[in-house]
Amino acid sequence: MWFFTHVWIIPALMALSFLLILFFGKKMPKKGAEIGIVFVGAAFVLALLTGGNWIAWSNNNPEGHGPAAEGAALANVDPSCSSVAAEAAAVGEGVEHVEGKTEGKTAGKKAGEGHNEGGHSTEGATAAAPPIGESAAPAAPAAPAATEPAGAEKGGHEEVATRPVVSCINWFENGDQTISIGTLVDGQSVLLLIVVTLISLLVHVFSTDYVHGDRRYTHYFAFLSLFTASMLFFVLSENTLQMIVGWELVGVCSFALIGHWWEEKPNSDAALKAFLTNRVGDIGLLVGVIVLYFAAGKSFSIMDLNILANEGEISHNLLLIGSLCLITAVMSKSGQFILHTWLPDAMAGPTPVSALIHAATMVVAGVYMVARLYPVFFEGLSISGSSVNALSMIGAITALFGAMLAFVQKDIKKVLAYSTVSQLGFMVTALGVGAWTAALFHLFTHAFFKACLFLGAGSLSHACHHSFNMVDDMGGLRKIMPKTFWTYLVATAALAGVFPLSGFWSKDEILAGTGSFPGTEGANGEYHVMLVMLLLAAFCTAAYMTRTIWYAFYGEYRGHGTPHESGPRITTPLIILASLGAIAGIVNLPAAFDFLPEGTQTRFEHYVEPVGLYFPAISHAGFNPALAVISVLVGLSGIGLAYLYFFKDAFAGLHGLAERNKVAAFFKNILVNKYYFDWLYTTVIVGFVKGPLARAANWFSANVIDGTVNLVGKTAVGSGSWVYKNVDQKVVDGAVNGAGSSASGVGAMLRLTQTGRIQQYAALFFAAVAILAGVFVVVIG
């Protein structure tokens, strides 16, 4: 318990380390790096302890059933943070409308395990009406013998409500409201706590070698600490206002770190782009939070919001608006189409930063927020029982198109960046289709292998004179850098979803979660489109990752100088991450694996996914062997084709096809130019401004959204200057300079501005007096 109430210490530690490095870093022997490492290490240990406690805490959970238990589960929510939770905790008249829901929910879960029709289970899961609940409950025992024990077991686990620990202090009073600041500890936040601190620790270690002797070594570590602090602050937020604070703080750290080498214009441009794009999304965040604040009865508290949203106390429309606004924020922060363009550019920052911020932690903030406020989205987008919604659509598009873009990149980091975009798409889709656990699980595994890949790329460029161009400056490093190679290989396989590496499990859960594949049980809806797109995306993923391997590690070395394996401080983190990426999958083996010893399945789900009043009654897609096989095959076929194409020179015809074949060239162009729908867009919108076709060509090559962003920027500046020149300086100002002159025309005005000022003022003054006296006498009198 102590850990849960004092978890604030962890971000506080990192903030402290930031200050220490800032003020004393330069004087330290290691230029401040050691401070950072010590503190982040401490934070990691604390996070682990908190995690352990959480597991214990959820295990010795008083067996409770029904609404009373669900209410009592909120006993550890400080009433001063969440009035709603408090009154729910004091089980009273609030119980009735809780009743039906919980019944229906548990019943739905049982049914979901037991029955062979997802539809019915979905119905049971969402319809908060006792009759269906009762009709479904007795059906559970009558399920096939194979799944019954698991089902029953699971049901038994599920009924025990999660006991989140929320503690807060009065932050400030505004008008009549009291706004508090505090921490919300449950499976979800603890998970991120561990992931963030762990990756951050590894990145710290990695950096000591990687950015060794950098111009701003100390600042670099200072900002790493600050970032970690803000991210943890965000993760532990007890209310949405706090979330905004954390959200923006991580944004600013990413700004500072992307622009770390700001002497070169491209870097600072990238930094600005990242910050501004995120700001655009932040409009959505601000508005959304405000809407939800009023929707939840003037309360920022996440608990209030979730419980109310969950129990249908908030009108559907408000939730819809709120969730749509927040989706904009997600699009910017988690690099979803069409606001994703900053993410690839963000690779201008140091590689460890890309690994930590732009792959593992910050970019998942969007996902985390959706997961945190899940009831809002679940109800607002009516995820359950439907077959398409904004969230899942955006996610799927991002997943597929991002993956395809990764093919044509020469810069290995850009490949990984687009891969990140695509993987984030997976998570968002998962949330969109109601596979909450799958999303978080994928977040968890992805953090490991993607960080590993980025650091691996860093290690490569470290060897190749800081070039990231795998096509021209790398190759044949397999022998020279074995550690990097193997770790990279493992991580790639994990990403590609090769059985039994972690990526396979999480990705499979997502695919199953779409509930579209025939025979999948207990999903929330049937999202057919999503399933198809995700499968395609998975295929591309496997393929382009193979491509990177080919360019980086095979063939002969194309760069200059003699590359060398990196030192231990670089390789150790790689190894750790790779192994984690390989095995992390076991924490959430499907419930269907009942041949394994009791209590080894769905641990992740059990400990991370909340159950109770503040979380919607989502149901879980059961494991579907056929789908699993298919997804593995898809992955392998991707690898296989790419392998044949690159390694074995198969389909020789295809090589250089783009040079010969107009059609192929066209398709290649499409990718190189990030889809020509931009082209339509630019030509339609700004075509007539463009002029000759020569410049049109430039426009094609420009990223579409970039084009528009610039366009907006230009028009803003343009209109700004126009307004300034004409309105501000001439009209408004002129009105003053020319005051008292009935003479018309600028000429007269100029003459006036040059002569007779004093008397003008006299005239002005008396005129004013006259008018005033007039007003005074006539109107008021």
Partner: protein, 98 residues
């Protein structure tokens, strides 16, 4: 006799004075216009003194004295300006030029 006949008269003088202040370029003339204004004010003072007791008259006297001083200083300034830039054209005092 009515109050208003005097008051309106002074009002007219006042307005004319203001007009002069606004329109005249020559410094001396501006000062003259100011005199008009002051006198208009004095008339009012006196008129009300017929209701209010002699205080009004006293103030009128003060005004006259102050006006005299003002003219003295004012003319001195005009003289100085003239000496500095060979003209008393207020328009050419573009110290406040924008």
């Amino acid at each position: 006799m009515f109050l208003n006949q005097f008051l309106l008269l002074s009002a007219i003088l006042f307005t004319i004075g203001v007009y002069g202040v606004i329109v005249r370029k020559n410094g001396v003339l501006v000062l003259m216009s100011i005199e008009l204004v002051l006198n208009a004010v004095n008339i009012n003072l006196i008129v009300f003194s017929t209701y209010w007791g002699v205080a009004g008259q006293v103030f009128a006297l003060f005004t006259i004295a102050i006006a005299a001083a003002e003219v003295g200083v004012g003319l001195a300034i005009v003289l100085l300006i003239y000496r500095n830039q060979r003209s008393v054209d207020i328009d050419e005092l573009d110290e406040m030029k924008g």
